[in-house]
Each structure stands twice: as C-alpha cells, then as structure tokens.
C-alpha cells in the first residue's frame, strides 16, 4: 500500500487522554466509526435480548415451571422481540451498510455524514428509552415495569384501560425515535449509492451489496413510515383521547393489525435483503468465481421488495377477512417464493464448478443457504390460508420465523463478521474458534428450532408462560432449551474470538481473502479518508482487473 497515502496519519491511541478518544467517537461523522458504533450497539442489545430469550427458555424447560411470573414472561417476550428486530437486526445491518457501501463504491464518506450521525444517535436514544421503561414504565404509580403487549402490540391491549402507566408509551416513543433514525439512514444510503459513486462505477457495475442495500433502503422509506404513522395514532389515542383503535367509539382493532403488518412483513425483507447482500459478496470470493446471474440477482431483489409489500395480511388470516382477501394474500405470499428461489439458484450456480474454500465465512453462507430454504418452505406452508388457520399463534409459527431470522439472517451476519472483521480491525478472526463457533451454533440452532416446529404441530400455543405435563411437549421443550443454550455458548465463543483476535490475531493485510471489491484495495483498517485518490473502475470486479491486467473483466462486460 501507499506510495500515495496522504501523510496526515492520526497519532492513533498513543499518549492521548481517553476523554479525547471518547469525545472523538461521540462527535464522529465518519461512516466507518458510525458503522462500528452501530455494530457494537447492536451487539450489546444482542446480549440483552439473548438473556431475555434464555429466561423464556428456562421458564418453558419443564411443565409447571415457576422460574418467572406470567407478568415477567409477558415483558420478556415483548422486549425480546422488539429489541431483536429494532435494536439488534436493524442497527447491525445499517452498521455494515454504513461501513461498507462508501468503501465499495469508491467514495470517501456517505452523502450526508452529519445526518448519518444524527440517525445513529436517534436510534441509540430509542434503545435507551425502551430499556428505561424498566425503571420509569409505571410513571408515578410505583415500581417500574417494561412493555408487555407483545412486539406487535395489538389493540386493545395498548388502550389506557389495559395498559396503564407509561410502559406502552416508552415502547411507542422508542420505536418512533428509532424509526426516524432508520428513515434518515435509508435516505443517506440511497443518496450515497446514487450520487457518490467513483468514476466508472455505473449502476450495472455496483457491487451487489450496494445494490441490495439501496433496494432495502427504498423499502425502509415506504414501510417503516406506516409504523411511525400508526405509532402517532396510538399516541393520539393514549394522550389526546382519540379513538383510532378504540372499539368502544366505533374504532377498529383490525386496522391497527393492518397498519402494523404493512410495516411488519416488509420488515422481514428489510432484514433479509442485507443478508442476501452479504451472501452475494462472500460466496463468489470463496468459490473463486464471479457471481452467477448478476442482473437477475438485482431484478429478483427488486421483485422481492415489490411483492413483499402486498403480502402483509397473511399474518391476519385468522381474523376473518373475506375469501377474496385470503386468496389474494395467499397467492402473493407464494409468489415471493419465485424471486427468492431464483436467488438461491444463483448462489448455487456461483458455487457450481467453483474452487470452494471452506473457511468460516463460507461455512456460515452454506448454512444460510440450507436453512433459508427450509425457512422459506415453512413460510409457504403458512402462506396457505387453511394451513395457517390451524397453526397460527402456535409454536410452529415461532419456529418458522426464528428459522428465517436466526437460520437465515444471523448466519449471514456471522459470515459477514468473519469476512469483514479483518478489514474493520486489521486482524484476522481465529479460524479454529470460528469453526467451533459454526458447528456449535449449527447444532444448537437445529436442536432448538427444528424441534420447535413439533410442539407447534401438536398444538402448543405461543406466548404461554407454562403448560400442563403429559401433552407430548415436555421432552421437546427441554431439548429446545438445551439447543438455545448451545447457541448461547456458541455466541460466547464468537465474542471471545472477537476479543482475543483483536489483541492477538494474525495481521490481516489489505486483502486477506484475495477478493475483488474496492474495500480490499485500501489498508485494514482503512484510513479516515478511505481513498487517497478516488479510484476509477471499468468492471464489476475492479481488483480482479488490477491483479490480472492480462485478462480483465472489463473485456467481457
């Protein structure tokens, strides 16, 4: 590196008071630092929400358990769901997008660095508010409590009569704050991808990660805002005496469901599209082949984004919609399977005939492929209305969406951590610990979530805090809990790996994976200005062109 690196290297760390370092991190507008802030903030909440999941699993480990009270159990599943979606998945994905998109498109920062910082701190404030409810939830009435209305907070549970105190309001306002943060970041990502590309980086040459994050951001604009609107209505109901969701005054509880799921279902795709983005970057590098079907990948993602916005009411088959609505939403739900299937075949096509390298990032990607497929299949089962009538509100549904989120998104996320950790910190993650993490997590995952389908089929409802013995659920629930703890141990291995490797890891160098996108052309970690001179690209794999001047990609595109 670096005949031409600008010689204004900051004197890193050495001899500076920690207050100054802290001040720099808090006031930073650098997309890389904000990315790291997003990711670390998400990891803290991952730990918290993981503990909440563990509490629930301990409670359900055996029948008639009394580890926690029903009230606490309600708070745990509400906080677990809300935290995992809004304060783990969203920020960690935004963090990676923040860190990687400018580097991949050859830009020095996001389009709006200060908006970027503002969005992060707004989201961070949202998370703080949500957890402050443990202290301030009941306002002046007495000891605090957390929201206990479930992550989708159906009316009339949120009405004043059923949700006294302020716990639901903390939930509402924290989601409003983080929602506005998400909208700010989404605007920023779209403006960055469209307006900050380096010369030659035409849309048809954008790395898929940038493409997919731009599509995801477009979805954020259209689908997070209905949630914000519904939250505003809820605040009007709770504080100004409005009647939006007040059935006593002619209001409708069903319309809250519609508004929530207009947000809620596309949200799943908002989370999974960045996961697709990671996989689309990692699989080619570890198959030593360019991505198969690049344009189709983009088109399929746009199709998923488009179709996913008209499937929301498949969450509501059991509320008694007309048969036309049921048929429509069942059909659109199954339609999503088509572009998703195209993507899975494209990843397989990329691996087909490639020289596969089974390192930790690739292992997690392969796990993702298999598990996401199964998650998609149970999704199609639930998309058929009669089947859904039988199983809605059961553990089958819980197993299904955890299969999507853990088996799909979290696996892709771990792949991303192993793949980009060297770029972010300059040190390789330990491969042995990585493999241990993978296998432990895989075993724990399948023990936990494969088996969880069965009590659902046997009729175990979700959100119950305990159950009668002798219904055939006992052993299964015990094994599910064991699986959950194995996953917990695997995550601890991962955390240990990150800490140990940060201090003792092998030095990564610029390009440890022999990869092809622009972020690997700069030092690890990249300098504050990213690129000393703005690069010019002529193909989708600029680093391939650089490494193989005799046979550049640009000749074939």
């Amino acid at each position: 590196m670096s005949s031409d690196a600008i010689a204004i290297q900051a004197t890193e760390g050495a001899g500076r008071p920690w207050v100054q370092t802290l001040h720099e991190w808090i006031t930073t507008v650098d997309h890389k630092r904000l990315g790291i802030l997003y990711i670390s903030y998400a990891l803290v909440f991952l730990l918290i929400a993981g503990i909440e999941a563990a509490i629930m699993r301990i409670q359900l480990m055996r029948p008639h358990n009394d580890f926690v009270s029903p009230q606490v159990f309600n708070r745990m599943f509400t906080m677990h769901g809300t935290t995992m979606i809004f304060f783990v998945s969203m920020p960690v994905l935004f963090g990676f997008a923040n860190y990687l998109v400018p580097l991949m498109i050859g830009a020095r920062d996001m389009a709006f660095p200060r908006l970027n910082a503002f969005s992060f701190w707004l989201s961070a404030f949202g998370g703080f508010l949500l957890y402050f409810s443990f202290v301030g939830g009941s306002g002046l009435y007495g000891a605090g409590n957390a929201p206990d209305v479930g992550w989708w907070a159906y009316a009339p549970l949120t009405a004043r009569a059923f949700s006294p105190g302020h716990s639901s309001d903390y939930w509402t306002i924290s989601l409003l704050a983080s929602g506005f943060g998400s909208i700010g970041t989404a605007i920023n990502i779209i403006a960055t991808v469209l307006c900050m590309r380096c010369p030659g980086m035409e849309l048809k040459r954008l790395p898929l990660l940038a493409w997919l994050n731009m599509i995801m951001s477009g979805m954020v604009l259209i689908t997070i805002t209905p949630l914000s609107a519904a939250q505003l209505m809820l605040l009007v109901d709770r504080y100004l005496g409005g009647h939006f969701f007040d059935t006593q005054a002619g209001g409708s509880a069903a319309i809250w469901m519609h508004f929530f799921w207009i947000f809620g279902h596309p949200e799943v795709y908002i989370l999974v599209i960045p996961a697709f983005a990671f996989v689309s970057e990692i699989i080619p590098v570890f198959s030593r082949k360019p991505i198969f079907g690049y344009p189709v990948m983009v088109v399929a993602t746009v199709c998923i984004a488009f179709v996913s916005m008209s499937v929301w009411a498949h969450h509501m088959f059991s509320i008694g919609m007309s048969s036309h609505s049921n048929a429509f939403f069942a059909l659109t739900t199954m339609t999503v399977g088509v572009p998703t299937g195209i993507k899975i075949f494209n990843w397989l096509g990329t691996m087909w005939g490639g020289r596969l390298i089974f390192k930790a990032p690739m292992l997690f990607c392969i796990g993702f492929l298999f598990q996401f497929l199964i998650a998609g299949l149970t999704g199609i089962m639930l998309g058929s209305a009669p089947f859904d009538w039988q199983l809605t509100g059961s553990y089958f549904v819980v197993a299904h969406f955890h299969y999507v989120i853990v088996g799909g998104i979290i696996f892709a996320l771990f792949a991303a951590f192993y793949y980009w950790y060297p770029k972010i910190t300059g040190k390789m993650l330990n491969e042995g610990l990585g493999k241990l993490h993978f296998w432990l997590f895989l075993i724990g995952f399948h023990l936990c979530f494969d088996l969880m389908h069965i009590p659902g089929l046997l009729g175990m409802p979700r959100r119950i805090y305990t159950y009668e013995p002798g219904r055939g659920w006992d052993t299964l629930n015990f094994l599910v809990t064991v699986g959950a703890f194995i996953q917990g141990i695997a995550v601890l291995v991962f955390v240990a790996n990150m800490i140990i490797s940060y201090f003792k890891g092998e030095v990564a160098g610029n390009d440890p994976w022999d990869a092809w996108t622009l972020e690997w052309s700069v030092s690890s970690p990249p300098p504050a200005y990213n690129f000393a001179t703005i690069p010019t690209v002529a193909s989708r794999r600029p680093l391939w062109d650089l490494k193989h001047p005799e046979d550049p990609d640009s000749r074939y595109e």
Binding site: S2, F112, L221, P542, L546
Partner: protein
C-alpha cells in the same frame, strides 16, 4: 497497492451523478407520502363510522380561498428559485417573501377553521372518530406547513442579510421541492376531506 488503475481510461468530465440534495429530498418525499397515505386511509376507513355527531357534512366548509393561497405559493416559490438561478436576487427575495405570506395565510385559515369547529360546534380530537381522524390528518399537514414556513423564513433571513446567491440556488431548489410536496399533499387532503368526505 495504491489506487485502482485499469486499462480503460475514463475522463472525469464524462462522469456526472445526480445532486445528492435532490435525491435525498425525493426519498424524504416518498417516506412522507407513505405516512400521509396511512392517515388518509384511516380517514377514509372511518368516514361515517362515528357513533355520535357532528359529521363532516354538518360542520365542514370548503376553504377555497386559503387553498388558492397555498397552491399559488407553489407558483411563487418556483418563480423565486428560477430568479435565483438567474442571479436576480431582489426578485427572488420578493417572491420568496410572498410565498411565506401565502403559506402563513393558509395556516391562518386552518387556525380559524379549527377555532370555529372547537368553539362553535364542540368538535375536538376526542369527540368522535371524525374529530380524531380529521384533526390528525389536517394537523399532520399543518405541521408540515409550519416546518416548511420555518425553513423558508430561515432562507429569507439569510437572503435579507445578503447571504443567498447563485451558489445556494441548488439548495433553495431542494427546499422548494419540499414546499411543492406540501402543496401536493394538500390537493389530496382537500379532495378527500372537503370534497369526497362531505
């Protein structure tokens, strides 16, 4: 390795990208449209579902004059930013001021209407579903008008101080996009609340 060099040379002049301010404002408008859509759907869904009076037909009057004010402010802001692009700062400032006056008049109209509804007809946000949805929807729009007026006023103050020139034309253009959006939303709200909903 240093910056990327490659066989194909590209002259930077051939490389032009859209202005980020415009793209961002377009994105914001998409997001805001989505919020307004939800409030409009709620308004339409609850039309005629109130369990008690007053109803829209009984109390709403069509605010034609104030609507004309707001819509013509779109024209004045458009002309203002065109004048700024051509460097005619006096004309820009005059029209900009006129835009603020027209927006202010519209806001006055909303305030007067609300005053009448509350004190003459006893309709508040908690009276019935019509009150809840009407004040939320019109209030959401009025909030956007207020935000717009604040931003317009900031530009006016800087303009009077002689700080708004050609180099700010693009940014002023972004602000005028927002104002056009606020006006366009009013066309929809007006149609739904005062024409279809009565």
């Amino acid at each position: 390795m240093s910056a990327i060099t490659n066989p194909v040379t590209l002259t930077p002049a051939a490389w032009s990208l859209p202005y980020r301010g415009k793209v961002a404002m377009a994105c914001l408008i998409v997001a805001e449209s989505s919020i307004f859509t939800i409030f409009l759907v709620a308004y339409l869904f609850y039309l005629g579902k109130s369990l008690s009076g007053p109803t829209p037909r009984e109390v709403l009057e069509v605010p034609i004059f104030f609507t004309i004010c707001l819509l013509s402010s779109s024209l004045t802001i458009h002309l203002a930013s065109k004048f700024l692009e051509r460097g005619k700062r006096a004309a820009f400032l005059g029209l900009w001021f006129l835009t603020i006056v027209l927006g202010g008049l519209f806001l006055f109209g909303t305030a007067r209407e609300w005053h009448r509804l509350i004190y003459e007809h006893g309709l508040t946000i908690s009276t019935n579903l019509f009150g809840t949805t009407y004040y939320s929807l019109v209030g959401l729009h009025a909030t956007h008008v207020i935000v717009g007026l604040l931003m317009l006023t900031v530009v006016l103050i800087f303009g009077l101080a002689g700080r708004v020139g050609l180099e700010q034309a693009r940014r002023v253009g972004v602000l005028s996009m927002y104002w056009h959006f606020v006006d366009a939303v009013w066309v929809v709200v007006f149609t739904v609340v005062y024409i279809l909903g009565r």
